[in-house]
């Protein structure tokens, strides 16, 4: 278990401050945060690259706050810092203590997994950014350390390799006893990989928990927005016949979970609003509304972002393209829609 | 303003002078300037180096190296118009102040356990000392060999040898008397038996490259007259 206790690090007008955080052995722990939130800084403190001003790091009961980097059994992985004077093969073999044959086998193995066998004799300068990332990943993975630190390992990879590498990472993680600490700003990456997620903002952890907890119970507006909630509604929740109903004067929404009554902030993800052709929804009988499309534009490969207006309230909604095409969704047309899930947000 | 000297400026003379002659020559220069209002630019360095400079630059008015040898060389090449001897250069033995090893003669330099600093045989003093040794060889066979065995270092200049003696790195060295006198508070001077000693002279010459013969001539004459008095003052034996 890696424990972070009362960590504090000042940088210019930025302060990283983590009071108490425990990362279990064999966890896949993802730090998720905006750019500039201090993710890299935190990772580098864990790795020993930077010294914290205060606080302790404890790995499996041992205080490693002052341990030299190379004795921490924590490997950092960063595609921007491959050793330029070594070939890819030599880079990957850099930390391997095993002898020639065994070493070569290990290198070959990891290269196969990461699809970089054809690069073995190149120098980092002659690699593309994505290739560099994969080599860095190989360098750390091949060593099977106790903790592996990944600073946005997938961030400059293309879709195909990103997808493949994601599953490779899962597999490698599943097969080994490594603890992985992964830093990213990509929520999807976190969801696909993490057991636990910590959302970090401005040097402070906003929320820690399993993926589910974070998705279903965002602690505050920031976490909610960061995890994809684009519609935030301020109003009151009342109990009626054992059901919890949110209302803000413009719209009434039945909540799924038991909620605290009174003033409340709730959030809806664009994906949780379904435009329906009939006035009946397959999944829900309540929460059916009709509104007008204010705007519609492509937001990804197979989705449109649709902005709906109900009683003067704008709601962001994500629609699969084929569906939108079938339904001939257009600006200014009127549609029915259903809110499948709305989540309460703790903070007001 | 600085008056440049390249031979075209009538108010100055460029004189190549052996570095060891600085003190008397500086004084002579001052007197000369006072009298004739002609500035003397002394260019001080070792004799051989000055000789090279004359050849390389094709410039200059007066040539006054520490020894006659270089004047002779330049003369052979036709660079000299006039020459005269000013002072004598007398080889002497120097030992550390107080003479701890009790060296009193040339023969003592060959005693076992004595550390010597000599000059390279290509050097004027080195060459002269070699000749002295071969003269002494008649009375003291093997002295050359014994002295050679005692030699721990060879200097490139007289001053280097003197420094070694003063610092105590060696017990004795052979230098010109005039150099030794300048350092007489740090070293003892032991004369070499006149029977073997060879005395050299310090000459002054007018260079063919001079652009102003008249001024060069004035200075040449001045050194030959008033100059000799000043040299005497500094402990040199002048050539009459």
């Amino acid at each position: 278990m890696l424990e972070i206790q009362n960590l504090k690090k000042k940088l210019n007008n930025f302060t990283l401050k983590i009071d108490n955080l425990k990362i279990e052995n064999n966890d896949y722990f993802v730090f998720l945060g905006l750019s500039g939130s201090g993710k890299t800084t935190l990772l580098e403190i864990i790795a020993g690259f930077r010294k914290a001003n205060e606080g302790k790091l404890i790995l499996n009961g041992e205080d490693i706050t002052k341990k030299p980097i190379n004795e921490r059994k924590i490997a950092m992985c960063n595609g921007r810092y491959l050793f330029p004077h070594l070939t890819v093969k030599e880079n990957i073999g850099f930390g391997i203590k095993e002898k020639n044959n065994e070493k070569l086998k290990m290198i070959k193995n990891i290269c196969k997994i990461l699809k970089i066998e054809h690069l073995l004799d190149r120098y980092p300068k002659n690699l593309s950014m994505g290739e560099q990332q994969r080599v860095a990943l190989a360098m750390a993975l091949v060593l099977k350390p106790e903790v592996i630190l990944l600073d946005e390992p997938l961030s400059s990879l293309d879709r195909l390799i990103h997808e493949k590498l994601l599953y490779e990472l899962r597999e490698i993680y599943n097969k080994s006893n490594i603890t992985i600490i992964h830093v990213t700003h990509d929520f999807n990456e976190a969801i696909a990989l993490a057991k636990h997620i910590a959302i970090i903002k401005n040097g402070k952890i906003e929320q820690v928990g399993t993926v589910d907890e974070i998705l279903k119970k965002p602690k505050n507006k920031f976490v909610a927005e960061f995890t994809g909630v684009r519609n935030l509604l301020d109003g009151y929740i009342e109990e009626k016949n054992g059901k919890y109903i949110f209302s803000n004067g413009k719209i009434d929404i039945y909540m799924d979970y038991k909620c605290q009554c009174g003033r409340a902030l709730i959030g809806i993800r664009p994906e949780d609003i379904m435009i329906i052709s009939h006035c009946k929804c397959h999944y829900r009988n309540e929460n059916i509304y009709s509104g007008k499309i204010v705007e519609i534009f492509p937001s990804s490969l197979c989705t449109y972002r649709v902005i709906l207006n109900v009683n003067g309230l704008n709601l962001n909604c994500e629609v699969v393209k084929c569906k939108a095409d079938k339904m001939r969704l257009k600006k200014d047309s009127n549609v029915n829609f259903c809110i499948t899930t709305a989540i309460p947000i703790k903070e007001l | 303003t600085e008056k440049e000297n390249n031979g075209t400026n009538e108010a100055s003379i460029h004189a190549y002078v052996g570095a060891g002659l600085q003190q008397p020559m500086d004084e002579i220069g001052k007197e000369f300037e006072k009298k004739y209002h002609i500035k003397v630019n002394y260019d001080y360095a070792g004799g051989g180096l000055l000789y090279s400079k004359v050849l390389a630059s094709n410039k200059g008015d007066i040539f006054m190296p520490g020894t006659y040898f270089y004047v002779n060389e330049l003369n052979k090449k036709g660079y000299i118009t006039e020459v005269a001897n000013i002072t004598k250069h007398i080889p002497v033995i120097v030992v550390k102040k107080g003479n701890p090893k009790n060296i009193t003669s040339l023969e003592d330099l060959g005693k076992p356990g004595i550390k010597l600093a000599l000059n390279d045989e290509d050097n004027c003093i080195g060459r002269t000392f070699n000749k002295i040794l071969s003269k002494a060889e008649k009375d003291h066979p093997d002295i050359t060999k014994r002295i050679k065995n005692n030699t721990v270092v060879k200097g490139a200049t007289v001053k280097q040898t003197l420094i070694y003696v003063e610092l105590g790195q060696v017990d004795a060295g052979v230098v010109w008397r005039a150099d030794a006198i300048e350092d007489k508070d740090k070293v003892n001077i032991i004369p070499i038996n006149p029977k073997y000693n060879i005395i050299k002279t310090v000459p002054i010459a007018i260079l063919k490259t001079t652009k102003n013969k008249k001024n060069a001539r004035l200075f040449y004459d001045f050194v030959n007259t008033k100059g000799k008095e000043i040299f005497k003052k500094y402990g040199y034996e002048v050539v009459e």
Partner: protein
Amino acid sequence: MRNLLKFISLSALSIFVIFIIFAVLTIVGKVSIETLEEAIFSKEIQFAIKLSLMTASIATLIGAIVGIPSAYALARYNFKGKELIDSLVDLPVILPPLISGFALLVFFGNTLIGGIAESIINIIFSPIGIIVAQFFVATPFIIKTSKAVFEGIDEKYEYIAQSLGISRLKSFFKVILPMAKNGILAGMILAWARSIGEFGATLMLAGATKMKTETLPIAVFLNISVGKLELALSVAFIFLVVAVLIIFSIKTIVKIGDNYEP
């Protein structure tokens, strides 16, 4: 010994610096207050200090003007015989200064091209000669150090600057030069140090004329030549103090202006 590397490298540094300090102390030990005073208040030495500072500074400046672009050419462009030219640049360092001085003397005194230069500005036996000699001997240090630094700067910085509408020449001044500042400065300080300590080539080309071409190292030489060892050491000491003070203050000033490295 947790940090062996730190221990070893600091030890090496200490050894070398202590060695230097001891060497300098032996000089100081031989200097008495009286001779030091005599040296400081001597018109001749004051002149030599001024002359040395001036010539070394001018030589370094000219060396920088010629050397920095040369370094850039060596770092960035490929041409035939580059390796050879790179080696030729080392020549003034390799050559014993006396020989360099001699060659320069012959060049300006006895060759056509040199003669033309000489007839325009009087170089031989003049303070200009000192500058030329120091320039010749010191410029390679600027070239070599700057080249090493230029090579370490990614060309893309220049390209990007140019793609923002800045001309090649301007991109050099606005991007490469400031990025290489520290390295270039290190080279210039080395060159300045070499210039101010230069003796052989100066002796040959400019001569050792008092109150005219007598720099500090030549003053030291002249004093040694007449056996005034103590005075020579005093001069050397003054010289040392002046040079170290100047180098130290330049470095400090540069450090202060150097706020982009935290």
